[in-house]
Subunit: 364 residues, 2 copies
């Protein structure tokens, strides 16, 4: 089947491009001597997680327990849940996932650590727990300084908990366009993590893993060498925001766009406007509108839940007609993937496979 025969809107992965991105990141991390644990919140797919592990990733990250449950059931071993798991009901679910594969969870709260320990003890099992440090995101995480070492000591002292390391992650600096500014912010954050690590020297508690970073900061994270595991996610797909950032030593990141939305023109009421069948429910808007692949200019504007409106900036008339199909590049890959149940996998112009978006909607 040919890609252009697909009903639209539909989420496409070009598998050759995807594989090239995975191989490239493997090479970069290997050369830098750092482990990588890709964040599966980007792709939500056990097939892609397995590809990343086959290429040498130590495991994957999940943002939510519900994602980890699906990944574990899909045979993905060694999962880090990068946000706190709160409340008895969820901690019992965590323990159940831990029965199937190795699952580590982060925490920034003494009461939560005690509950993790108590429920792990009830189940007679060991649970790996990391401490999250806020290195600038202003979200979860203990402030940099002695509190992380205090929580690590509580984890270490509990017979059913294992202190697994420190997480320090900043999502909001990943897409700073100027690479020098992005590098400076990366360094500032890692300085905070280093200051926190210094507190551990007096406690005798060792820190097995330091995890964080993302696609945008990965060159600077590798150069600094403080993080032992990188949580890179978007490099597998890229999006219009990520592809627009500067990269050290070149104009653009070395990863290619493997993810698109195929959309159809459904109306051309006047010569200078077409309407496509992709709106707020089929491409995310949180980082701005999508752009049209292989076309100059940013012509797409949202036309409600189900439509996009395209006016050309450099033509009098729009060069498409009703029924024509275009590929869109989303502005934010994570939230766009989350709107779909499947990927249609293509190789060039041919459809070659279908993959489930396994953890779509697993927000609990």
């Amino acid at each position: 089947m040919k890609m252009l025969e697909l009903d639209t809107p539909v989420l496409l992965i070009d598998v050759d491009v995807l594989d090239r991105n995975i191989a490239l990141m493997k090479g970069l991390t290997e050369a830098a001597g750092v482990s990588y644990r890709p964040h599966s919140k980007t792709h939500k797919s056990t097939v892609i997680a397995q590809k990343q592990i086959d290429a040498g990733a130590v495991g994957v990250c999940c943002a939510k327990l519900g994602e980890a449950e699906v990944m574990a059931a899909g045979g993905i071993d060694n999962i880090l849940i990068t946000t706190p798991v709160i409340g008895e009901s969820k901690i019992f679910r965590l323990l159940n996932a831990r029965n199937q594969v190795r699952v580590t969870v982060v925490s920034d709260n003494e009461d939560n650590i005690n509950m993790l320990g108590r429920i792990a003890q009830l189940g007679g099992r060991q649970l790996d727990v990391m401490v999250e440090v806020d290195i600038g995101q202003g979200r979860c995480g203990v402030p940099p300084g002695p509190e992380a070492a205090r929580l690590a000591q509580i984890i270490t002292d509990h017979p059913n908990l294992i202190f697994a390391g420190l997480q320090g992650y900043q999502g909001k600096i990943q897409m700073i366009e100027d690479p020098a500014a992005r590098k400076a912010d990366t360094e500032t954050g890692l300085d905070k993590l280093a200051a926190t690590l210094a507190e551990f020297d007096q406690t005798g508690v060792s820190v097995p893993v330091k995890t964080g970073g993302g696609t945008g900061t990965s060159p600077f994270d590798m150069e600094r060498g403080l993080l032992t595991e990188l949580q890179i996610g978007s490099y597998v797909f890229m999006d219009s925001r990520y592809s627009g950032i500067g990269w050290p030593g070149s104009n653009a990141p070395p990863f290619e766009q493997s993810l698109h939305i195929l959309t159809s023109v459904v109306s051309k009421p006047v010569p200078d406007r077409v309407i496509v069948d992709t709106g707020l429910k089929s491409v995310s808007s949180d980082h701005g509108p999508p752009i049209i692949a292989n076309v100059d200019g940013r012509n797409y504007e949202f036309g409600g839940d189900e439509h996009g409106i395209i006016h050309m900036t450099n033509y009098d008339d729009v060069p498409w007609n009703v029924g024509d199909k275009l590929r869109l590049i989303p502005s934010h890959c994570d939230t766009t993937v989350n709107l779909y149940d499947q990927y249609m996998v293509v190789r060039g112009d041919d459809v070659v496979d279908v993959w489930q978006v396994d953890t779509r909607g697993r927000v609990q």
Copy 2:
């Protein structure tokens, strides 16, 4: 089970409030002598569609063929698909849905009408087709004037097509806050529809249905009396944008907020900040961030895919702790519902049912 025992984030409907909204709209349309055909793109639920039909709605609207297929399979009769259905594959699917229940589709394109007729003829069946007129949205729809009558004649002339009426809808004026400005824009749009209708006087083609309007413009649509069917959608749930618009003769719309997201505090790293487990993947951002129910001020800010960050505007310290649960009011009900697989149905503080979001993700 109590609402506060639910794992979060979770989509809640208060069924008593929902039922009051449905009863209120029934009363308003009945008093105005206008039919209503609620737009199911808001709720995506066959249960709610059936409630609306039980309360006197003539049927429902669907935005996409895929939604109509699910509604038809769920026994919802008399569906209007409010966007063009383009291409052979989809038109064959449309004919299949038409085998099950009455389905009407809109069109604004002669080639599309001819293809609808040809495929209906192949299947030996009749298909109801409306003509869409652009009354100001700048999206799909023929320009106001004679073109609509020309397309209606083509539909009428085809042995397998039935001309079902005119659609004129403007989504973007529904949430204009000032009711006088909203009324003026409603009138301007309806004037364009009236001008188009005048073109029909010379053709002998009668226009059985004039459909359009939404929750925001409904008082003015009812007053004008030109539309014979209203496509109101958001009144069943409301959201923070809709509840903030002015209403003729009062400060606020008469519909109540029946839809919430229950969210948990998952981190309180410092006294003046809490992090909740609801982010871009569990509440939509296209109309802005959600607000916290029963709390003054707009304190929620997005903290990425999975988190919200809450600082108080009028307190030094945040009055919640890790594990506490809060209700959020989304800024846009349609796109938020589209992120979930189920509604948890509550009556006051008690969970009383679960309903599927049947047409979630049915964007094709």
